[in-house]
């Protein structure tokens, strides 16, 4: 799949999502909500427009990967964009002051939540960073096939 996808964000993603407030809602999530937010569902997706406050290609906050602090109409939003290598390969530069649109949804991690972007769009360029099931493109595995073999005790 070509990692760079130029597209018009589908109209069914409602502009009303601009009223989405990440932090307040997320922090009040119940245990049941967190359970529900452990998997990505297209039906929950929102489209959010904002201005880049901070771009961190290697954030110290989980989940590992690119974090974008976005100023939205409802306040700042921490957006996870997955693997920086994908943005690099797609020649998508994000800098403070850029106006961007992100399509994604809140996911649970470590007792809290964050906004997982599936698509990030700047100007006319949109890059898909997750698939429809929410998995980041080009994410790496921590254990190589050879290590798995060596653990198997088969020699």
């Amino acid at each position: 799949m070509n990692p760079t996808i130029r597209l018009v964000v589908p109209s069914f993603i409602l502009a009303g999502a601009l009223s989405f407030c990440f932090s307040a809602g997320a922090q009040q999530s119940t245990q049941l909500d967190l359970r529900r937010l452990q998997s990505y569902e297209l039906s929950r997706e929102l489209s959010v427009v904002g201005t880049v406050i901070k771009y961190e290609p290697a954030s110290s906050v989980a989940p590992m990967g690119v974090h974008l602090l976005l100023q939205t109409a409802s306040g700042p939003l921490d957006v996870h964009l997955g693997n920086a290598k994908l943005l690099q390969a797609s020649h998508l530069d994000l800098n403070p002051g850029d106006n961007v649109r992100v399509v994604g949804e809140s996911l649970a991690l470590g007792g809290g939540t964050y906004f997982a972007a599936r698509i990030v769009q700047k100007g006319t360029q949109a890059v898909a960073v997750r698939n429809a099931k929410g998995f980041p493109f080009h994410s790496a595995s921590a254990l190589t096939p050879a290590q798995k073999e060596s653990l198997r005790g088969v020699r």
């Binding site: 967190l34 998997s39 989980a62 920086a84 980041p136 921590a142 290590q147 005790g153």
Partner: protein, 524 residues
């Protein structure tokens, strides 16, 4: 600017994730032990899996190598062959025209293989004269590549295709045709007389889509020009093409040659493999790695199988830098698939999360395992893409045997660093360490290759310790820990599960700048 050139230009810069001012000043000890150049003597099959920057590229791509090198016992490489798959781009049967190697007394050394335009380089640690661990340390003007792997002495030549016969259990993780994570495991039957694969069964998780079923018939066949010397052949498994290398009749190494980049070993299934819950008892440790919605993922743990029930489960998940220990697990069950020997499912649940795994046993004490937890039951959508190993634990207490034990240590995973390219990327570490009683204090030497910096660090000192709690099995609910100090770095903490006093695996236990899993293997 070409990233390869930049990282090479910055090779003198020491950058280490987790380093802060005042990182460890641990120094490597003088190498001691029983190994020498003569310890590496014969024809070895090697594999690595990692990443590569090809010339002209500014983004690394996945890379898998499978091949053979011939060591002369005197520091020379007499020849060999390798197959390379870089994100689906295949370079078949690349000739290794020569090379060289070193082996220190502690089993650490270097391996250089001459291929085409420029050599490829590895750090090695012998775990015996028959096998060892290695990491790809290639860093030259044409290529920058990393990855972890191992090498195993092949059987004596000549090879015979009829040696591949019977049922084999396999785990081929890697990338699908679109370079996204895939886990493909199962079992297949080879007719030793014809090379046909008439039947098999698989479980596949392709970027979150779970599929399971009977295999399309396939076959193994020899490559006319390379089989007799190297045991190299080609195979079709469930419609996908592979190249393979025979290690011996019990172990064959595969690497895909179309539709993506999958690789792994197939292990002959023993005749006494459990086929029902009645034969499946004991303490098992497990390790899986892969991807989640959040990024990289590792799961390590242990369980007690008692027929159809599961108890004493302890598990640790690291989900993209967020660690989740599972201490309270319930509703554990085991079922077996009567139609496919050795295949079954394990389920258990902690208060927040259900776990479901499929496994294929290759013997009473070993198998492969895949996470098949669905987002919602019956959806066919996996909550993660992860697979790994399931191994019978020795009886406790599990501690390193003897006052001072030498181990080979290898980990790989993802690291987040600053430096010239402040992104997350692969890291691979290879070390030789001794664990000294009574506190299992570590001392050794390591090579570390972090692709975020492109800087290969060799000869780092290794310190730290293994903290064994309870009997070391985890069956008593007590986790054991591993702390590693590297020269110039802050301590890295892992949770460690011993399979036996000879083997353990570990995964990051705290912090979010590393997402690693690794293995500790006793040197024999």
């Amino acid at each position: 600017m070409n990233r390869l050139l930049v990282v090479l230009a910055s090779a003198g810069t020491v950058l280490c994730a987790g380093c802060g001012g005042g990182g460890s000043n641990v120094q490597p000890p003088p190498p001691t032990g029983k190994y020498s150049l003569a310890s590496l003597n014969g024809q070895y099959s090697f594999v690595t899996s990692g990443e590569v920057f090809a010339s002209g590229s500014n983004v690394p791509t996945p890379l898998a190598r499978t091949g053979v090198f011939i060591a002369d016992g005197k520091g020379g490489i007499m020849g060999g062959i390798e197959d390379v798959n870089s994100a689906g781009q295949v370079s078949p049967a690349v000739q290794i025209s020569g090379g060289s190697y070193t082996v220190n007394a502690d089993g650490r050394g270097t391996l250089t293989l001459n291929v085409s335009a420029s050599p490829i380089s590895f750090g090695i640690v012998l775990t015996s004269t028959s096998d060892g661990l290695l990491i790809d340390e290639t860093s030259n003007g044409n290529q920058l590549s990393t990855g972890s792997g191992n090498f195993i002495l092949q059987q004596s030549t000549p090879f015979a295709l009829s040696e591949i016969a019977g049922t084999y259990v396999f785990d081929f993780p890697g990338m699908d045709v679109n370079n996204n994570p895939e886990s493909f495991l199962g079992e297949f039957v080879v007719d030793g007389a014809t090379g046909a694969i008439p039947s098999g069964f698989f479980d596949d998780n392709d970027f979150g889509t779970l599929i399971s079923g009977a295999m399309i018939p396939g076959a193994v066949s020899q490559d006319p020009s390379t089989f007799s010397a190297f045991g190299r052949g080609v195979a079709t498994i469930d419609g996908q093409n592979f190249v393979f290398y025979i290690v011996n009749s019990n172990q064959v190494r595969f690497q895909s040659t179309n539709n993506g980049m999958l690789s792994g070993d197939a292990i002959a299934q023993t005749s006494n493999v459990p086929t029902s819950t009645g034969g499946f008892n004991g303490n098992f440790a497990f390790v899986l790695s892969g991807s989640s919605n959040n990024g990289g993922l590792t799961r390590v743990g242990r369980l007690t199988a008692n027929g159809a029930t599961v108890s004493n489960v302890l598990a640790d998940t690291d989900d993209a830098g967020s660690q989740h220990p599972s201490n309270i697990l319930s509703n554990g069950t085991i079922t077996f698939d009567a139609a496919n020997p050795g295949r079954g499912h394990i389920t258990f649940q902690d208060p927040n999360f259900p776990f479901t795994f499929v496994f294929y046993l290759s013997s009473l004490n070993s198998g492969v395992i895949q996470d098949v937890t669905e987002t919602t039951p019956g959806s066919g959508a996996g909550i993660v893409i992860a697979d790994g190993s399931l191994l019978l634990q020795s009886a406790g207490p599990l501690t390193p045997i003897g006052p001072t034990q030498p181990y080979a240590m290898n980990w790989s995973g993802i690291v987040t660093t600053g430096g010239n390219f402040p992104i997350q990327d692969e890291e691979d570490l290879l070390a030789q360490v001794t664990a000294a009683s009574p506190n299992q204090t570590l001392s050794g030497t390591a090579d570390l290759f972090q692709f975020t910096t492109g800087t290969l660090l060799t000869g780092l000192g290794v310190g730290g310790s293994i903290t064994i709690n309870g009997d070391g099995t985890g069956g008593d609910g007590k986790r054991s820990g591993l702390t590693v100090d590297l020269t110039g770095a802050n301590p890295i903490t892992f949770v460690i599960y011993f399979v036996s006093p000879q083997t353990a695996f570990f995964a990051i236990h705290s912090g979010n700048t590393h997402l690693d899993a690794g293995v500790l293997k006793l040197q024999l």
